[in-house]
Symmetry: C2
Subunit: 373 residues, 2 copies
């Protein structure tokens, strides 16, 4: 295994000491003995310092900060004053080691380039806001091996729950997760037998619906572009939904106009040009994500192609840009913020003890017919 790159996003709650501006920490160093062999030379203020300053035991100081209701108001006030005067910053590392209770949950996203994932994040952060759990985020770059390493890292850091994207994961990921016995939420799709719970929608059905919409509009010579299906089970499901719709209506599904594409506006533009050169009779292109579709719409404008006159274009996701394009893009709307929120809430419920295993939350989808079809 090699170096792994991940990323984490955390949300946290921290009681802040009001800050006294003068520097007092060293002046107030207690004159008492330090245990010999004390290794910390850096002298960061500890809870013991605070306790001494407040004239209470360390455990009382700890309680005053973490379980204020168990401490007499007057004692608590003394501790709080000591905290402020010493500019005490708790050592959360030590705290969570001692209590061995998770203080964070993790989410692993395949990318941060696409705003669809940051929207999910937004929803999750919102739901976690008042929970007391931080959210740590990993970026798997659509690589199952990186995902597995991230899972391992997060387990090593003691997260209480993990949110994954998609239904397909490395065997190692699954065994790590099973072994760790922590709640897992899969997002963006609805596996029949989720690892823990899942929140998503039927990518197959959504894609089928969009393909159906195109066929209904009268398009007959349709092309399809998605991300590489090998690394992306959502893209794979969308391609299946598209293929099924074509088959159900007796249309040919030409493999030469069923493309896999990298990500980005430029890639969408390239796919458009490629398809029109491979098969000029194409009358509609269904892109399995809006960034590609937007790239194509913008390219059409540059090339002087009329949309949908010369070629219709449909997308998937309903990103902000979709509605601002000229013409505005037909797409499939997914409530990404709701998805993130639901996933986070499932994790919180699981951490609170609610039965969780096997729950499947369908957030649905909506075909938004705008002007590119």
């Amino acid at each position: 295994m090699r170096v792994d790159v991940g990323s984490s996003l955390s949300m946290s709650r921290l009681e802040g000491a009001s800050v006294i501006v003068e520097t007092v920490a060293s002046a107030l160093e207690p004159p008492f003995q330090r245990p010999r062999g004390n290794r910390r030379g850096h002298g960061r203020t500890t809870l013991a310092d605070v306790a001494r300053h407040a004239g209470v035991s360390p455990i009382t100081a700890s309680r005053a900060l973490n379980k204020p209701l168990l401490v007499a108001p007057e004692t608590r006030a003394r501790v709080e004053r000591a905290v402020a005067e010493l500019r005490y910053i708790p050592n959360i590392i030590a705290g969570s080691l001692a209590s061995s209770s998770p203080s964070a949950v993790a989410a692993i996203l395949p990318s941060l380039d696409n705003s669809i994932f940051t929207d999910v994040l937004k929803g999750a952060v919102g739901a976690l806001e008042r929970s007391g759990y931080r959210l740590v985020l990993g970026n798997s770059h659509f690589d199952p091996a990186v995902e597995a390493t991230l899972v391992e890292t997060f387990l090593a850091h003691g997260v209480g729950a993990i949110m994954l994207t998609g239904a397909r994961h490395a065997p190692q990921t699954q065994s790590l997760l099973t072994n760790a016995r922590i709640p897992v939420v899969q997002t963006w799709s609805l596996p029949r037998r989720p690892l823990g719970a899942c929140v998503g929608f039927s990518n197959f059905a959504a894609s089928y619906a969009m393909a159906h919409h195109l066929i209904e509009r009268g398009y007959r010579d349709i092309a399809f572009v998605s991300a590489a299906v090998a690394r992306n089970d959502r893209a794979a499901a969308r391609r299946r939904g598209y293929a099924k719709a074509l088959a159900d209506h007796g249309l040919v599904n030409d493999p030469s106009t069923t493309l896999e594409s990298p990500f980005g506006l430029a890639a969408g533009a390239a796919a458009l040009e490629r398809i029109l050169s491979v098969r000029p009779s194409t009358d509609a292109i269904f892109f399995a994500n809006d960034v590609l579709a937007s790239g194509a719409v913008l390219a059409a404008l540059r090339l002087g192609l009329r949309v949908p006159g010369d070629v219709a274009i449909a997308g998937f996701d309903d990103i902000e840009l979709a509605g601002h394009l000229m013409p505005p893009l037909t797409t499939v709307r997914i409530d990404r913020i709701g998805l993130g929120k639901a996933a986070a809430e499932l994790m919180l419920e699981a951490l609170a003890g609610t039965p969780f295993k096997g729950r499947r939350v369908d957030i649905g989808f909506e075909v938004i017919a705008r002007a590119t079809t």
Copy 2:
């Protein structure tokens, strides 16, 4: 102080145990005594278990994993086998408490909605990849109070260095940072007296250059739109640069066409309409970020306005969309990935002991004249 929402992105290095697929952990639980009063009922495999299984002392097992060169190859192999067989996952929390050495650095960004910040992230993650430090990311939502709380949280978590966005910070942030005595890198601007080091460019000069470009092209009735300057020192500096350029060329700087705007394509569109209604004679609009400018270009297309015929539009940042618009957007290019990389490298150097304080790295800017002006 209140609940704080942040976010973190981490990059990490973790030696992975090769995984044996059958579940062996419980079967291999050592038959030996457990110290009485052991509080952990969950039975996660510890390093002590591994050591026992390998027939060595815990410290040797620790060394075999963390300082392999200090351990005889044969012993190391035994430990590694034990790790694999027991599916041992190290407890990083405990490790970093014991060693009290930082294992992460933090970056605080004002937003994840704008791809310019995720680009910086990309650069930073790249530089940190092989360093052994994780990167933790906080999202301040352009709020200095949230930033202060994030700083506090990160200090509580023991990060070794912090990267901030912009030059302006709450007094509390500054005092926390001074007190913590850890390296701080400020990004996106070049304060004369940085808290630690800084990496950025002159927002004033870049903005001046773009305004100069517009004036040079013959535009005389120029408007300016930026984010709210009160919460964004970069926007403030850009507005000053714009104003200076106008003044230097004897042009009027009409306050009624100097706008502050929320973020997003829709906001850019609204700003365009607002300016053209307030002052129909406006011949150019300089947007201090590309998302607003792009929203305006797209809106112009919808409204049937010719760009630059009816109104010229300039942006700032050079996001991907800028080059794909029709017409492609004139903007200021910033090497954001390079910025993130340089900032991360500064942190690493500081952690390695290189003198650091006061270093100012100018990454420059480049006016990209495309077709909207």
